[in-house]
Amino acid sequence: MLQSSGTLTQAAALAAPLAPEILVIGSGPGGSTTATMLAEAGCDVLLIEEGPYLPLESAPHFSREEIVQKYRNAGINIAFGRAKIAFVEGNCVGGGSEINRGLYHRTPEGVLERWRREYRVDALEEDRLRSHFEACEAIARVQYLPGPAPAISSRLQQGATSLGWASMEVPRLFVYGRDWNAGSPGRKQSMTETFVPRFLAAGGRLLADARAMKLARHGGRWRASVEHRPSDGPRRVIEISAATVFVAAGATGTPALLRRSGIKRNVGDQLRFHPMVKAVARFPDEVNLPGELEPVHQVKQFDPRFSMGCSMSKRPALALAMAPHPDRLGEVDADWRRMAIYYAQNTGGIGTVRPIPGFRDPLVRVRQTPQDLAELAEGLRRLCECLLAAGAEAVYPSLPGFAPVRSMADVARMPDTLPPDRASTTALHLFSSCPMGEDTSRCAADSFGRVHGVDGLHIADCSLLPTPTVVNPQGSVMAIAHRNVMHFLERAARPGAARAIPEHAAAITA
């Protein structure tokens, strides 16, 4: 485990009552951003995280070792329904930022407008959010490619261009090396590389391997029952008392914790996803070359209905994506350098999150409408069309029962919808399980993340985003968390309050 100044050992965690001024539960992009800003403002902050504290490179990306180390439930998470969705969440310090590819977008104005209109979120105009994006981007390090796009990426772009479709290069949370094209591509950025070190440097305390089981209010303070399971000691249950709590345990973890704590109003009732179908394209020449940078292009022609992009295409991922075509797995062995994975995703499906008495993990259910599935099927057809236009000689939809696609005639024969029992979608992005806004009939928290009708309790993660972001959500999660915590600090700094706010934050909130 990482041990840095500010991290708590088991002995320290158990030695004395833990009673910080502020407890932040969850260290993903929302929790880390919140905790860092609070610590830099001089608050006494304890950040707890259910998973371990590991270095970014503790395992290669998307390897079985990474899945066991850093994915919640080793990646086995299912939203049950007629058409199931398998989803992935991080479970380590840094959360999802440690396992994603770090593709970065600001929230599209159309999405912000919808949040303002449908959920009555105050003060969420694009120009008011800009400074929060800029502040997070400066810390999180967002960069465009320093040179030509890798082949997997440029093929998608070529296909889109030849069809007259809009496409774009997406920046990443990445620091590209000076010798990026000579074997030193640079370094992916994540919370453990950026916000968490700042948090610790500012005096924040971090307790990993600590899962909040329940929150209760006693004598004007929150008391969290926390299960601490360090790798170097026995499991213990500890109590943490705090005046203020920010919950950032993720789109399933946050509503599960709140509901276990008796806070249920509009909590866990509208979990949303970006369901994704994948396809493997085989090209006549090599595109999947070791040492190349990660692909970064996305097709935006059909946003917000559905979008397309490139997936991580290393050989284990290719084998997994070809699982619906077991008789063709040999092609992965023979031709993996000519193969790459692409996806189409939409914003369909609405789910619920419910704790199950006696069990740790909540039950997640989802309902996808026939229109949702038809939209995904259209996305898959368009993706095949784009890849054929990019020169692919065959495209294998990663769905059972779908034949290889080799021509536009094959595309025309593809089904108009995905059969629910074979939809086989996955989701890397989850949101909206505790939406924010002033519409108390549908929102769990107010426009700045304070839980409606509950003192000293805030939500600070993707659960707050009222609907899917359409784009990769990490930028939105960080910026909204930054905006909300600055609002919290600003209120705390008003005359009569003893709190100062950080210098850079003062400029933003002014």
């Binding site: 990482l2 395992a59 079985r64 180390q69 080793a74 086995i76 299912i78 790798s231 284990p316 039950l363």
Partner: protein
């Protein structure tokens, strides 16, 4: 002679590895690491699914007893493959799902072994990772 969850999973890993003669980066038998990965995933899956999967796996192991007098994990390779195939094509969805679950993870794990060969990732590091589980690669 009795059904055994761990041995059944390890036997499944051995059967899958022998069936998929993927090119190897070295001479090590990958069945052990594949079996360990399957058991690791089972130990970490949502707790409300763990017991049903365990029971279904035990049923899978015991299914060969009436016909062959041995559980799946004691069968020779050829009979293991037939047994897996019978469950894979069963009309009962839970049987098909169980095989799909283990087979997908086993293939993924098998190809993860090729990471080092493809991308120059040190095999010693992989051994550390696999052996030490979540804390195995800790950096001081």
């Amino acid at each position: 002679m009795l059904p055994d969850f761990e041995r059944a999973v390890e036997a499944f890993a051995q059967a899958t590895v022998r069936e998929r003669s993927a090119p190897r980066s070295d001479e090590r038998d990958p069945s052990t690491s594949v079996g360990r990965f399957l058991l690791d995933v089972h130990a970490r899956m949502p707790d409300y699914l763990r017991l049903p999967f365990r029971l279904l796996t035990l049923a899978f192991d015991a299914w060969s007893l009436p016909r062959h007098g041995k559980p799946f994990h004691r069968l020779p390779h050829e009979l293991r493959i037939k047994h897996v195939q019978a469950w894979k094509t069963s009309r009962l969805e839970p049987r098909r799902r169980l095989i799909e679950f283990y087979e997908t993870l086993a293939v993924f794990s098998l190809y993860s072994d090729l990471y080092g060969q493809d991308y120059g990732y040190a095999s010693e590091q992989r051994d550390l990772d696999a052996g030490g589980g979540a804390g195995g690669t800790a950096r001081a």
